[in-house]
Symmetry: C2
Subunit: 213 residues, 2 copies
DNA sequence: TCGATACGAGACGGTTCCGTATCGTAACGG
DNA sequence: CCGTTACGATACGGAACCGTCTCGTATCGA
């Protein structure tokens, strides 16, 4: 027993500076930046989740493996933190009408879809959903659920205001409104997302219907 | 050089019986069934693509590794064949109107989405798209492209008949029509697909619009 | 019957990665 | 100055898997 005497804290997550002030050399914040940066660079280079090993991350970051293991117990925990870190909060919805809110919410998803890191996480998370429950849960809680909740809230506002059809299930309404943009984001990597007017087109088309008058 | 004398055919794909009739013991068709069956069972058990090793497939199939390597040069080729094999042809479209065709096409996707193997492939393929070009290409050619083409064809028919809006991009029309069903299939694993009336609801909602009158 | 090939099983060397431990050095508190 | 902790680097044992090869056996054509 060599390491049982040195009570390494099980320190989940990157260095949280609270706690009792450490005595020796403090954790290097630069190392942490380098680690996160390395993961993001590898993701942007199209490295698959399977090829994303701790050793490769350490090499890319110019960091010793121990520096990673000092912060996270394993690859899984690191990636959960990466997912957690990359998601920015939803934009505030201040539109005068529910339609403006819908458009800005869809535009938020469009802009997220333009970020390669973001797409990488979606796709990788999907493939690991069944065999990696913790990533699934983190992804759902941090990404999927807030978006669904936001849309649901806007839709409910529209229904209550009598401007959205009340004969349709709210869930169905939500899916009809955000399905197309997510389709472009996740499934069709060649589909264009650059047009800033795309969300307006989509929402108006969904609201007005696709049938000719 | 021991194996250079025995000219093993590079035999890509599972045993194609054409060719010159082999001389020795023929390939066991049962072994092939067992191999495909094992892959499909593992997929249904939620085993991730990364955990899907040749050794595990062989063990699950009750088959020697050599029996697999005799048919495919590596795991990649095997999985490409699995993807190729699992996709059934699109249903014939004989509906009297473009709306019927739309509904039946969407219903086809709904029924595919109920099959766990099918969902597994979608999700796994998505995560490997960047780092595994051959799987990406096979998946696109065998799954994505036919479906897009089918929808595009129906939509074009509707536009030409003057029943679908002609002021919208055809691509956008397609995405609006199939986005919701794909969203349920790929992203929300808890979303219900069982209702056989779902495609009709979706298509009619998309055609009529979501705005209250 | 005999040569050829396939079969299941598994040994084999090689590779990659895991997570730990150990260097010598560097940065903090007392 | 000294004890403590982190740093980058790297060695280590163990595990999993790759793709090849070799068993003894089974099944075909000639």
């Amino acid at each position: 027993m060599t390491s049982a005497d040195t009570p390494l804290k099980p320190c989940h997550g990157p260095a949280t500076e609270q706690d009792a002030p450490r005595r020796g050399r403090p954790r290097s914040e630069a190392a942490e930046h380098a680690i996160f940066g390395a993961v993001e660079k590898l993701m942007e280079d199209g490295v698959g989740l399977a090829e994303l090993s701790i050793e490769r991350i350490a090499a890319e970051a110019g960091v010793g493996k121990a520096t990673i293991y000092r912060r996270w117990p394993n690859k899984e925990a690191l990636l959960v933190d990466v997912v957690d870190r990359l998601e920015e909060p939803m934009p505030p919805l201040a539109g005068p009408t529910y339609r403006d809110d819908l458009i800005s919410a869809v535009d938020y998803m469009r802009r997220r879809g333009l970020i390669k890191r973001s797409r990488w996480i979606v796709k990788s998370a999907l493939g690991q959903m069944n065999s990696w429950p913790e990533l699934k849960q983190t992804y759902h809680e941090r990404v999927v659920r807030p978006r669904r909740e936001l849309i649901r809230q806007i839709v409910r506002r529209g229904v209550e205001a009598g401007e959205l059809r009340s004969d349709l299930d709210v869930e169905l309404l939500c899916e009809m409104l955000i399905g197309p943009i997510l389709l472009r984001t996740v499934l069709w990597d060649d589909a264009p997302l650059e047009d800033p007017d795309l969300p307006r087109q989509m929402i108006d088309a969904a609201l007005d219907g696709l049938a000719a008058r």
